[in-house]
Subunit: 339 residues, 2 copies
């Protein structure tokens, strides 16, 4: 082992890696609306309804998460017994989908909560566990479900309430990724762990705005720590900022002289056709899980994209604190991936 | 860096460490009932009420967590800028106390959810980040609050409902620990990460029973992986099993020929006087935070205890899934600590 006091960090928040940790397998399970969207061909499972023969939406969400985990393992011939650690999180209170999935997998388990930043929070921890020599394979899973999240955070969907135009549609789906030591697949080149940033938004429909400051902060910090500029990447991909948040993020970075618009997209803006009426786009942990682990992963494997900066963002409020007038804290974590 | 494929693991779930990661500082902030208990002298702050001039119990809980974090840093002359990562979690929906604390600290942040297993889940991740060479200092914080947890999980305390005798009292308090590379303080000798175990309990008052199976599973796995028996340790300390769960855990281990009763205690059984009327004892993230980071840490620093196995346990249910008839999954993680 290396001398401990030689810390492997760049700048304040970033960690350079030796590119030995790879995304060896991914799998995606999509809900009905997502399966009718433009990326449908990239999903492993397309569901035609949102309860999948379960007796509650919560059980359906856990079911999708379990399915994505087993699919990702099966693609590379692994079983739960081959996995050193399972890391998972979701949007529900007490991350219950992740916990129920962990019960089925019976793999040593770290539950995490980062809201929609779960994908990169978990991939970061999994990568560091492997790079540190504590694991050969780590499985990460995350999910969200429109009918579970809406009734927990806002109103049950059955009410048919009218959300404002700047709100986003919680995505139904799940995704899993197997991280491996030295396997095939895109490698993790560096990681930037985000600080919590709060621009003072108190409207829980306006999550794109609330998260944009964290996204811009982490992307800026990544460029500073790595001494790169946006053109280094073939693609900069945020998680679920949607139409409002992605615009604000680009503006915030432009104010700091980083112009990302020519190679930047947000997963929340890609998942639905415009006629699917999702206001400002998709949100929820499954947004980046479906778009990155499905579509973008496929493009990286095919060498169409070689250097990708994946930045997922989470709004870290609770309905209780929003009712108490507290503003919405947010966080974003970035992973630089290379083929 | 070492060759990646030489994974540092013992058996299925345990990781041996080089004893270079130390608990360099701890701090505890106690609620009013806890401050009247037998361990009151070991707490850094004793509050005489449970709202501490805030306008909600939730804000009071976040306030206590922040206070414990700053106290633990101050004791060793560190500031948030000296800390590489902040890891935190609590019992509230969306771990809002941790998120609000992370907003104030502005340290790169990993939010975790392990319910009352948060202390050892976070200490495990923090230890591995340091041991892997990715950090010099990691700060871990956790909290619980009787008035926030009771109204979220069961009923508002103002109702004055009568809990059954096997139920536990959610502890009000917070604790923080600074993990450092090579500093003074008890060192982490090995870690055993738990699997989710579910013995089929559906009564959300009976958390001691629900968690006992996970505690026994992880302790048994630790003995198997390390080829140790209970007498190796001066103390085996579980988090918040209370009177019911600690008895069941000892019985389950005795059935596997491991007799721990002569050097075993549970934090939930230590925190209150019997006349304080807490039924089966304390529970919640603050139970182990106050008892371990306050009392036991003090005894280790004074060389009264040299080898301690700390095992905190979490019940991973949500009120929604309990109402849907789902049983309660649980997890436990163990850290072996040595002076």
């Amino acid at each position: 082992m290396q001398e401990l006091l030689e810390i492997k960090k760049m700048g304040r928040q970033s960690i350079p890696l030796e590119k030995k940790v790879s995304l060896v397998s991914t799998a995606t399970v999509a809900g009905p609306k997502e399966s009718l969207g433009p990326l449908t061909d990239y999903f492993d499972r397309r569901n035609s309804d949102n309860i999948i023969k379960e007796n509650s939406f919560e059980k359906a969400e856990a079911h999708m998460l379990e399915e994505s985990c087993f699919l990702s393992l099966g693609k590379v011939g692994l079983t739960p017994g081959d996995i050193d650690f399972f890391i998972a999180g979701d949007l529900l209170n007490q991350i219950i989908s992740a916990n129920i999935c962990a019960r089925k997998l019976a793999i040593p388990y770290f539950g995490i909560y980062g809201a929609c930043s779960t994908l990169t929070e978990g991939m970061s921890l999994g990568t560091l566990l492997i790079e540190g020599g504590f694991a050969e394979h780590v499985l990460l899973g995350t999910s969200s479900h429109n009918s579970t999240a809406e009734r927990q955070y806002r109103y049950p969907t059955e009410y048919g309430y009218q959300p404002p135009g700047y709100s986003q549609q919680t995505v139904t789906g799940a995704g899993a990724v197997v991280l491996g030591a030295g396997g095939k697949g895109p490698a993790v080149e560096s990681i930037t762990i985000g600080k919590v940033v709060d621009p003072g938004i108190t409207d829980a429909f306006d999550l794109g705005s609330a998260m944009s400051a964290a996204a811009a902060d982490t992307i800026y910090q990544h460029f500073m720590d790595t001494q790169r500029d946006p053109s280094y990447y073939d693609l900069i991909l945020t998680g679920d900022l949607g139409a409002v948040g992605s615009k604000l993020t680009q503006e915030a970075l432009a104010n700091k002289k980083y112009h990302i618009s020519s190679n930047y997209i947000d997963c929340g803006n890609l998942l639905y056709h415009s006629h699917q009426n999702t206001n400002a786009g998709g949100s929820g942990c499954a947004t980046s899980a479906l778009v990155f682990l499905g579509y973008i992963y496929h493009r990286m494997i095919n060498n169409e994209l070689k250097k990708v900066l994946l930045v997922t963002t989470g709004a870290l409020h609770s309905p209780t604190t929003v009712m108490q007038g507290e503003s919405i804290p947010a966080v974003a974590h970035a992973l630089a991936l290379e083929v």
